[in-house]
Amino acid sequence: MILELLIYGFTMGSVYAISALGLSLIYGVARVPNMAYGAFYTLSAYIAFILLNEFSLDFSLCILLSLFVTVAIAIASEKLLIKHILANPNSVIIATISLALFFEGFIQKYQKDSGYSYAYLPSITESVDILGIYISIQRVLIIVVFLVLAVGLHFLMAKTKVGMAIRAVAQNPEEAVAVGISKEKILTIAMGLSAAMAGITGILFGGMQAMSPYMGWPLLIKSLTIVTLGGLGSISGTIMASLILAYTEQVVASLSIGLISLSQFSELVSLILLIVILLFKPTGLLGKTAKEEEIPH
């Protein structure tokens, strides 16, 4: 029982971690969270679904195409919109929220017209026996993808020129420009990478729960909570925070006071946690010691 909860929690933690790592990329470079991040997650899942059901393409081709389209949409919105209003963070927040709602309208219309009340992406439902527990291969796949992505991202950030440039812009944009890094290019790369991460989350998770046009918002809030908790720019901090959130949600969901089950309250965990962290430690609990300029005072 406990081992089962541990593994299930770890799967959820992996999903959260993939998405939070993506958000922290763009948050770090742009210094404002991209509130349309959840919409990219929804978009990729629905694009894969549409390609699969309307054009009956091969699923692996669907995945590739949907990731490509999602990244293209993200880069287009960065080039056409976000780049121009970056100087005013409040504008970015309002604009990206409306961008997300803009896409949501189309997805809603599709869902209504197509008549799919419950949309699912294909997933691998066979189970494997691990230490006496049956867990579906989809969950194993999620954990594997997460580990590969985390290690890959770590190497990208630590060893490659692009990664170092991203880190440089995130730490000190003025000096990064002074040493010849193109801030605009880095912003585009970060936007593309983060949208790809959102897309991967969408495709992996779309097979595990019914898709809805609004499913991006909870994931956005959860990723924001994790990024704020784990500290910007820290991969290990983000992963730890994802696991903390996933396990906390699971514990709350399994609790009950008397006869009243608290399962519905698990959705509130991330919302309340985000408020508390923003209020008392906006630089993150697990992040490295924050620099003066990052403290919002």
Binding site: I85, N90, S91, I94, S98, G105, P296
Partner: protein, 307 residues
Amino acid sequence: MPLVPAISENPSYLILLTVANIYAVFTVSFDILSGYTGYVNMGYTFLIAVGGYSAALLNIHCHVSPFLDIIVGGIVSAVTSMLLALPSLRLKGPYFAILSFIYPLIFEKITKIFYPIFRGEDGLAGITSLTESLVTNYYLTLFFAVTSTFLITMCSNSYIGTIFKAIREDETACEASGVNITLYKFTAFTISAFFAGAAGATYGHIFTLVSLDLVSLSLLVTLLTTWIVGGIGTLIGPAAAAYVMYMLDEQLRRIMPEMRTSIFCLVLIFLILLEPQGVFNRIFSDFKKYLRQGINKEGGHFGRKDT
């Protein structure tokens, strides 16, 4: 405006204008906080909903008369706004916007969790109508819109308004000048939330229903679009824009109900890109410049140089 019922007895126009009056209160009270103090309150719909739901509960369960529970709704909302005002002492700019964005989401979850009380997706139905006649409803909401716009404008023209603007421009300098900015921020939140709550309660009495539409993102986007169209920090601008935008909103709702929010979002995005301070603001300032140039050409001697 006051003559409308005399010209047309068509109930659909009357209801349209009645709701537009309430929208005008929404945008004016949004502007006094977000436009003047610079704390963009993305959780504004939360304050509307708190007022609307508390008035609705009082009305349904305790049979309180509409006029009393509208005021109570406003007060409850004003008190609840402390949940937003307290964080604003520590958080600025985007951090505050994100924090306030979370409140409507929490409200939505809570109405679903405590379904027996708040009725989740279904909303609270069975609220008594404001008055029996549509014409009286229209005049009452018009009176409400005019008084609240008047009161808020008075407030913004007084010393309080000057401090609000000072907080927006430079909070540290304002504090260093010996102004108790905590007090003024609380004042801004209280004024904004009182009118938001009262308007939310009135909205409930017009439709005899409050639902999660009050905390929906599409309402937020509609309000933000109206706000920016009207001109940030002009008060009268957003109030006037509320009528125009609400008419457009209703037309869109009739023609293409699904794409309504998407269209508003697109308009909002273009506005932010092209005219972030607001359309009316640009027209106002162009008009002023034109007037000044006219005076300069004729008199010239007392004309000041534009700096």
